[in-house]
Symmetry: C2
DNA sequence: GTCTATAAATCGATAGAC
DNA sequence: GTCTATCGATTTATAGAC
């Protein structure tokens, strides 16, 4: 292993801070987690955090970026390499049951978004990312429809918006009421796909 | 005007505190509003708040209760006294466009729910209220379907869960991205109703 | 029941040494 | 770039007077 350059160690530190913050934010929530706790858990002090992130919400944005990327990758992976539409739908269903509102992805996104709504910089960043993610999901839907010869009765972007909102709404409610089933999301996807 | 008894003045104070807190929570958010600000804006001091509410989240729960009641009443009112199904649907559409994610109802509910997720007492209270509201909405849907002879292809409770989640998801996203249209909700309602 | 005063704790952010 | 030390501001919550 070659010695790391300064640039490399900084990238490493930054990544470690984001990873640690992600874990703590998911476990305890954004507001309930202090920068000091993040720093200590990562093996640094607050100074290291502020050397890499100007403010707490900048760290929050970085964490959210990672989380959202992972979520997109997870959805793609959930569809798997199945070759029939039913199998792919089933794969998504299994993923949804295990992930919607369970680990806390949705809670974190939503807590962060609502808690920082005063900060214009954060608001626009979240809006941009929302549009990006919706677009990716829409492309995925359009591609699935094309592959399996399904006719969509609404623009893919509308269906994506619909499903994303449904997932957020179910996830945030499920976080405080685990009795809420997410089957409605899977059912709806099947319905949207078939009509 | 007869002189108020002690009990009456306390009820009045409590109501005034809730009303003031509601306004500030909606404007600035739950976390960003301190109890001192609430007390001062209502013309009291923090002592008065703590005489009526044991903790901040207890005040938050009281505010949310009022907000949720108002929301249910508003939905009922939005349907209006129209006698055709199309008119009632149109009334709901107008209400949705003006209210979903605009004033901040959804943001407040969601911010409060996610920020207090550690507090078991709050969690169960929110879960109970969620089930209650979903039930009320389900009854409303079943009643509308019955009145206008519409056949529902899913249990009313599932449709209610679906619409509520959709409204929350759209509202929370619209709070930070006003470019998001809510027509998808109205469209979906019409679709759910007709099939 | 409300007010005054204050406790007690925390947190985000900064300054300066290394 | 990271650490130590600390500031400064704020907050929830409490104790005691009225």
């Amino acid at each position: 292993m070659a010695r790391l350059t300064r640039k490399e160690t900084q990238v490493q530190t930054r990544a470690l801070l984001i990873e640690t913050a992600k874990r703590l934010f998911l476990e305890r929530g954004y507001n309930a987690t202090s920068l000091g706790e993040v720093a200590e858990a990562a093996g640094f002090t607050k100074g290291a955090v502020y050397s890499n992130f100007a403010t707490k919400h900048e760290l929050g944005l970085a964490v959210l970026e990672v989380v959202q990327e992972e979520r997109v990758v997870a959805i793609l992976g959930a569809l798997g390499d199945a070759h029939t539409f039913e199998d792919r739908l089933a794969g998504f269903g299994r993923w949804a049951e295990e992930n919607i509102g369970d680990i806390g992805w949705t809670s974190l996104e939503v807590e962060f978004a609502t808690s920082t709504r005063q900060i214009e910089e954060v608001r626009t960043a979240l809006a941009t990312r929302r549009q990006l993610i919706t677009g990716v999901l829409a492309d995925l839907i359009a591609n699935e429809a094309d592959t399996f010869g399904i006719e969509l009765d609404a623009p893919a972007i509308d269906i994506a918006t619909h499903l994303l909102a449904l997932g957020i709404g179910l996830g945030v409610q499920r976080a405080f009421d685990p009795s809420l089933e997410v089957t409605v999301l899977v059912d709806e996807l099947g319905r949207l796909a078939r009509r």
